[in-house]
């Protein structure tokens, strides 16, 4: 494994340096039919789940075949996508904001062969490489974060939880069998890199134990004032601790004030808080981003804690299945999960789904909590 230089010269780092050149401009990569009809699209239809046609004012058509992916993907897999795009789509493809890949062709005649090719490809182990779906009133691909694959603060895995949820909801991905779109997101900790706080169903990794304190190393690895300032509830304060006759500058934590957000750990590696028994998942539902009919809204916590049960997280998938099934049966056409829950009332949501309401579901974080308590005798028995 000899080192191969690209031409970069460490002695003269500014020599031939191309800095701040930004992304490649998008119009270099548009398929010809897209480029030709840019800004002149008339309407679209979903011909079947995962297959869209967009019709331009010129009469031109573009057919897009949408496939789910695992988001974490290898060079080998991406090259296979390129082979497919070269074979069927004149060398163009695109990805969606929900981590699907789309293959586009400019005539209906080309769709069947593309579709057959995509569905024929499977990984060793039997899973589809390119399942077609993710459109309309169904479940699209899950937006997610890194989890145990690559992140230093996760309370759960992301790629694994996504895999098991999408295995469970595969018919909902390949079908249009929901009352409205169901958008699911997974965040492996409260940082929510994917911002899943406005999803129909949000899976959020949570810690439940306060940070450990690595007293003997803390002052060497952290700026104590930053660690103190990082705590939103003021639970961290500067302190001194004696270990084996040596006094160390460190912090003390008022544990009952800790809400396990992990922000102190982000500022200070000597305050880790992950723990196999403490960590797990909070399940949130009823959020949305779209302005359609009702306003965008946050997801609400309906299960405060589900343990991590790798590799297939059975309690998590079963709970999601229950929510999806009850929603699917009860909601009106076009009604998002959160709109349905609000229409029937949250007391009914818990009754119908059989999810137990607990004290942990009552907000107690700062002022906004008050706006979630009931100030009325208008409720249902």
């Amino acid at each position: 494994m000899a080192f191969v230089s690209s031409g970069y010269n460490p002695d003269k780092p500014m020599e031939n340096r191309n800095s701040d050149i930004g992304p490649r401009k998008f119009d270099e990569f548009l398929p010809p039919v897209i480029k030709k009809n840019f800004g002149a699209w008339k309407y679209h239809e979903i011909l079947e789940p995962g297959i869209l046609v967009h019709v331009a004012e010129s009469g031109d058509e573009v057919y897009s075949v949408r496939c789910g992916t695992a988001r974490l993907m290898s060079v080998v897999h991406i090259k296979e996508m390129c082979d497919i795009a070269d074979k069927h789509c004149d060398g163009y493809l695109r990805f969606t904001t929900r981590n699907n890949v789309e293959f586009m062709v400019d005539s209906k005649d080309k769709v069947d062969a593309l579709k057959a090719d995509l569905l024929s490809r499977k990984f060793n182990g039997g899973s589809y490489k390119f399942p077609i779906g993710g459109t309309g009133a169904g479940v699209s691909n899950i937006v997610h974060t890194q989890g145990w694959v690559h992140c230093h603060t996760p309370a759960t895995d992301a790629s694994g939880t996504v895999k098991v949820i999408m295995d469970e909801l595969f018919d909902e991905f390949t079908g249009h069998n929901m009352p409205a779109p169901v958008r699911i997101a997974v965040a492996c900790c409260l940082n929510m890199c994917g911002a899943c706080h406005c999803s129909d169903i949000a899976v959020v990794g949570i810690h439940r134990k306060p940070p450990l304190i690595d007293h003997e190393h803390l002052d060497n690895l952290c700026e104590i004032p930053l660690a103190v300032a990082a705590c939103p509830t003021g639970a961290v304060r500067p302190s001194k601790v004696e270990v084996d006759g040596t006094t160390y500058k460190t912090v003390a934590i008022k544990e009952e004030r800790c809400m396990f957000c992990g922000n102190c750990y982000t500022m200070c590696p000597s305050l880790p808080l992950s723990d196999s028994e403490g960590d797990g998942i909070a399940l949130m539902v009823g959020g949305k981003i779209s302005n359609r009919i009702s306003q965008p809204k946050f997801s609400k916590v309906v299960v405060a804690y589900i343990p991590n049960e790798p590799p297939r997280w059975p309690t998590l998938t079963k709970t999601i299945r229950t929510i999806v099934d009850v929603y699917s049966k009860e909601a009106n056409k076009y009604e998002r999960l959160g709109d349905w829950a609000e229409r029937i009332g949250w007391e009914r949501f818990f009754e119908k789904t059989g999810i137990k309401f607990t004290k942990h579901l009552i907000d107690d974080f700062r002022d906004p909590a008050y706006y979630t308590w009931r100030q009325s005798t208008q409720f249902k028995f």
Binding site: P23, V75, G126
Partner: protein, 437 residues
């Protein structure tokens, strides 16, 4: 033969959904064989060791990645995230496993030529594993070592002419929906706006000077496909302010059942015959649609721009011609002060090249936030702490009933001295002439 036993992960190879485990295994195998004779610049067993450390996490229920260190390329403060394994002896292939964020083309269209070129860099100088794409939108290269970073940057910027994205307390890689390229709802050119502002603010993107991260996102319409209003500090959401265009013949075709409602999105179930009264008129939040004598009419003055009628009958209803965007500010995920959605700042703005109005607004907001924002405080939190009026003040925007859901509940109004007749300066002795002690 796999380097590590992975009995737990192996269970994720079954089931219909694409298996990331199977995919990592296939990359591991290709690296081991190396039939193309690539001069691999990081350990050959990187993929095996990633599976190994992940298996350990699956049995421990805890992550095995250390707190990131500071790594990067010369002159940049972002774009690379340091990552080290906390069991380097067991998994030497991933002892150093840094992430490289690469700026994606807006709308995420690619030619296979470009994709193959960047993949070539990554199979030689990295793990061969990626995220397509990261949550913010970047192409994410997962796993390389420090000596490769400058080499990767050099090859990216010279051979494929693409730059790194953002990380840290800076402008994060802006993202847009696919906009006018393939959507009839786009009220402005999201890709052009996103590209122009990305290029304008390369310095802010690569050199952290902010209190915390800052995200722009560009949605072409209120459907919000890139989730701008949920997650960006500066959300540009397309909107029109004139009339929705109606094709009455197409309306009749929906009513008659010739066109499937909602573009066919409900095809998997029998919802019965399309009922325009129930499915469109009654669901309109502005209650401004009528369907009488076979004719649809909209009182556009009362339209809430929710998109429902247009989404339901895309062949009959089209966005208006006077198009632009609404600007909303301050969305974020829970860390630190709880989740926030973006709040409306500018009800309507024309979004046209050279986007000067947008830039002026952004720079005014940045000047204020950089002055007043605390360390790790997102714009939304600064807005809450300092008040929405402050944002109006620094951007020179007049208050408007559209800025609120409803007016305030309390009369604790922070009047300023210059807003009150005679100001606040008064003489206590004059007062005492009128009022005894």
């Amino acid at each position: 033969m796999a380097k590590h036993e992975t009995p737990l992960l192996d269970q994720l190879e079954s089931g219909p959904w694409p298996s990331f485990v199977a995919d990592i295994k296939q990359q591991a195998e290709v690296r081991a064989k190396n039939e193309e004779g690539i001069e691999l610049q990081i350990p050959e067993e990187v993929c095996d060791d990633l599976l190994g450390v992940l298996e350990l996490s699956y049995s421990d229920g805890e992550t095995h990645w250390k707190h990131g260190g500071i790594v990067g390329v010369f002159g940049y403060g972002g774009g690379v995230i340091g990552r080290y394994c906390d069991q380097p002896e067991q998994f030497p292939g991933v002892a150093h496993f840094h992430t490289v964020r690469v700026a994606q083309p807006n709308g995420k269209y690619y030619t296979t030529e470009f994709l193959r070129n960047i993949m070539k860099i990554w199979e030689m100088r990295g793990s061969g594993l990626t995220n397509m794409h990261g949550s913010t939108g970047d192409i994410v290269f997962l796993g390389t070592t420090t000596p490769q970073l400058e080499e990767i940057f050099y090859e990216l910027t010279h051979d494929v002419e693409v730059d790194l994205g953002g990380s840290g307390s800076n402008l994060r890689t802006p993202a847009s929906c696919l906009g006018k390229s393939r959507c009839e709802y786009a009220c402005y050119d999201t890709q052009a706006a996103c590209y122009d502002l990305t290029m304008e603010y390369q310095d802010e993107l690569h050199r952290p000077a902010f209190p915390y991260k800052f995200k722009f996102k560009f949605d072409g319409c209120p459907n919000g496909c890139v989730a701008a209003m949920a997650r960006s500090d500066f959300s540009v959401v397309g909107i029109w302010r004139d009339e929705i265009r109606i094709d009455q013949e197409a309306v009749a075709a929906y009513v008659g059942g010739e066109f499937a409602p909602n573009a066919g999105a409900h095809s998997g179930r029998d919802w019965g015959k399309f009922d325009i009264q129930k499915e469109v008129v009654d669901l309109c939040p502005g209650k401004c649609i009528k369907y009488e004598d076979g004719k649809l009419s909209i009182n556009d003055k009362e339209c809430m721009h929710c998109m429902h009628c247009i989404n339901t009958m895309p062949r009959a209803l089209m966005i208006g011609n006077d198009r632009g965007a609404s600007i909303l500010c301050g969305a974020k995920a829970p860390i630190l002060d709880g989740p926030q959605l973006s709040s409306l700042l500018v009800p309507f703005i024309k979004v046209e090249e050279p986007f000067d109005e947008l830039k002026e607004l952004i720079e005014n907001i940045w000047d204020w936030w950089m002055e007043e924002g605390k360390n790790r405080e997102r714009l939304g939190e600064t807005m809450r702490r300092m008040g929405f009026q402050k944002l109006l003040e620094v951007t020179g925007i007049e208050a408007d009933a559209r800025h609120v859901q409803e007016p305030r509940h309390n009369p604790y109004i922070f009047w300023k001295a210059d807003e009150v007749e005679g100001s606040w300066d008064r003489d206590i002795n004059e007062y005492r002439k009128r009022h005894q002690r």
